[in-house]
Symmetry: C4
Subunit: 295 residues, 4 copies
């Protein structure tokens, strides 16, 4: 591939739209979502990673402590969130996933072994997707409508495959604070995108293993989270979190999340919802644009 092969058009073919009609009385939306990667975050890229027990134990904090504490917090605040769960996690931590469902939360598709999809290896990437559908169905009896790509990368070529299997929304792209409907090859309508906000990726503020980053204190994290929420609210957009129970379930991070959610609940006109609820609203909104069937 050469530079001359790059098409001279926006990478994202979806029309730009800065006006979303949220439910009556609502000015903006907080899509509260977690990636429940557990141990799988630490062996993606190399299965031998499984053997490094202390490294993997960073992920183990999620199921042992973080997730139970977060489920308790959400129950107390009466909030419903989306948890994106890889196939391996659904199998290794089935009981915790059942607890999510009992708590009124949505479970989304998050790959099989938490492997980065790649169009250079379509077979493996599609197998990962199928592994996810299969495990969520077999273990939890559910057909996910939402998908977030593991490892922060995705390709529209996979969105087609996801739609065929019932996925209605994606939450991986970083290019907007307003939801949009993907436009796939041949101008075909794709799933809705609930674009993710990397300021709310707690991994970047609260983990040091495998990065050169610093751990960031509560005051700084809350300042950024408040500012993102405030201006997105002013603009009428969507604030999408990328939280991880293995991070936000740690004591000091839990305090940040608790404080943030308590404040968010008090924000007038903020609709806090899970991905399925938001997608259902947008699909029924006459101003959001054509749905996949009618385009």
């Amino acid at each position: 591939m050469d530079y001359a092969d790059i098409p001279t058009r926006p990478a994202n073919r979806a029309p730009v739209n800065h006006r979303i009609d949220w439910p009556v009385g609502m000015r903006s939306c907080l899509f509260l979502s977690f990636d429940f990667d557990a141990e799988s975050a630490w062996f993606d890229g190399d299965p031998r990673g499984w053997r490094h027990e202390v490294t993997v134990s960073h992920g183990g904090f999620g199921p042992r402590v973080g997730l139970p504490k977060i489920l308790e917090l959400l129950a107390g605040l009466e909030l419903s969130a989306t948890f994106f769960v890889p196939a391996w996690v659904a199998e290794a931590h089935t009981g915790l996933c059942e607890a999510m469902l009992r708590g009124g939360h949505e479970i989304g598709h998050h790959g099989g072994f938490h492997l980065k999809p790649s169009p250079d290896d379509m077979d493996a990437s599609l197998a990962e997707l199928d592994r996810g559908f299969e495990a969520l169905s077999r273990r939890l009896g559910l057909e996910p409508v939402g998908y977030r790509a593991p490892c922060g990368e995705n390709y529209s070529v996979f969105l087609d495959h996801l739609m065929v299997r019932g996925v209605k929304y994606s939450s991986s792209w970083r290019d907007d604070v307003f939801p949009y409907r993907h436009v796939l090859d041949g101008s075909k309508p794709g799933p809705i995108e609930l674009p993710a906000n990397y300021f709310f990726d707690d991994w970047m503020h609260g983990l040091i293993k495998g990065s050169g980053r610093n751990l960031v204190a509560r005051e700084e994290v809350l300042s950024m989270w408040r500012d993102e929420l405030e201006v997105t609210h002013e603009w009428g957009g969507i604030t999408t979190t990328i939280l991880h129970p293995q991070v936000s379930g740690r004591p000091s991070r839990f305090k940040i999340l608790r404080e943030f959610l308590e404040e968010a609940k008090e924000l007038d006109g903020l609709w806090i919802a899970n991905g399925a609820q938001i997608t259902e609203h947008l699909e029924s909104s006459p101003t959001f644009g054509d749905g996949p069937e009618t385009a």
Copy 2:
């Protein structure tokens, strides 16, 4: 090349000058400039980068959200800025570039595919420069007078080529807070340099993709920006920003920029201007030094 081949003289042959005569009543200058790289920032170095859609979507935030919001902000504050635009962006996002021009802003040259220039590959580097002139002319009907090198590297050997094509100022060097005129080989006068200030490179505070850096909260960024501006003002120099719509257009960063510009507008004796205006003033200033024609 050996150490003995390094000449024992300052790398920069331009005379040092800490006294600039700004327009009457003005003590220092804020050169408000943005690099509108959009998606091109994410495929420089390797055209296959284009295919990584989520990575590239970091850049897509610029045209989808950041730039429109920033143009609105500047209009409200009645400020004119310079946007440095690569050829690919001028072609892929022509409408947004036209909006810049309608808003009274300057468009500067920022390469072709946002590739790092290199004297080891003169042909490719010069082709990049030509691609920029050609696209800005064909799509927008303009001949740029300003140039900022993509990827934070440049060589005086290219300044000659830029001057021949009409460029009057460069804004890439990091070695001063006072503008100067470049001195090229053979003591030939080069373009004016409006040196860039890396504290105002928002990428360093507000992006995590592809770096080990942390996201930095508003209080810290504003503290650094205020201090830079305050002391540069005290010294009578130039404060040159290196902002990116894909960063400073994000909600929390937009709030930082808005607050900073509102404060800057209130600073007595601060001249906020675009690069063409500053260059025109300096070229007509009797104390700035010989122009390129008369040297």
Copy 3:
């Protein structure tokens, strides 16, 4: 090894337990522990590292300044801590280790030359363990009951070997804020784990050599430490520090540690203890679970 070889079960086979009975009147526990690596932290991985004298001098700050100052601080506060000491350090700095013992502190096993254990090289890893036992015995006449793996990695396969040699607790895993007893192959009970908290790894906030991290100011470090302690206290867990005299003994870090410990001493219901004391308490607690002998 392939992904299909990864067992679909939690990496950690120990049962989850969020309820610990601390000593009467105590709500949570602070396990105050230091890794006294001294110079050995800077030549792990390559013995030639020893030759880089300025790099190694970062470690030398521990024995020359940091450790004496910290021992003085702990004596003033009447606190007993655990110091994990590699064999090389016990031999090169025997006098300082004797001072620890005189001060009423515990010395734990921390490897031989501070080398990362690896199941791919069982012979070398076991030799490292033996080297540690041998040096602590010969130089200090002690048989350690606690072990922390050097370089932040460990494998349960080594826990067996440690138990045979008398080790009763490990403090390397990152997956909990409640102590648990390891479950080894064949469901065999292993040593107690006093899981370590990486927010209290001062290296991450107070060292720049060999990392891309920033030095972090007292306000931020204390904020994170207070939050970790506060929420762990609320939950009734254990706060385990990973401090290094070569870091926390530096002037500005010493001030952080002093302030933190003074505050911790005032926290009602916080039991500050060393690892041997905590392990002894847990082993005698009827609610903690079966001990290694009786399982």
Copy 4:
């Protein structure tokens, strides 16, 4: 070299001493020192680095702006500092070095082309040292008594060579906050060490080029600097700065330095001095230990 070849003794053979007799009325000492690397900081390791003009221009900020501003600041505060200057800089920026001397400052040896010394290449390393002596003598007529190794690494094997050429103190080691006299091979007394404090290496807080670090705001830098100074003062030690005009001469950093030095001047019992003054005091102090001649 194998681990068994590492001697089991402290890397630093100098006796530990936490009690320094500073001049009458003085409790601790601030050794105010700068590394005036200018452009040479950016081509060490590879002479072709010289060609990357924008990268090198980071260094050019020192001679163009930073150094003149700092000399002015020091003159206003009536402080005398040490500037460590490589041979190349003494030749390329002779006038600025003369200005330092006129301002009452000391110039120390800082290598030739700012290359990292290495005992694996004794010839090249000694040539670097000789290049430094030669340039300082020829251009500035001075014989330096102080030496700081470029690139933060040094070896005691070079200290011998430096002493023969007249060097009385080194300021490269990181293992103490009290000065000491080096002990070289054969128990031979070496030069005095004025150990350097990496919290005062402004590069780590104020430069982003070539690192994954963040720029740090004034409040955080000042907090760390105040804490280091306060506790070192309490302990009666030495606070040694590693400042760079290309960093601390930048507007926002200049404000930090100015504020810090103004506060330091007000601190009762703090002796602010250059390296030659401190060394002269220590050499004449009966309690500091044997000098090199009498040992």
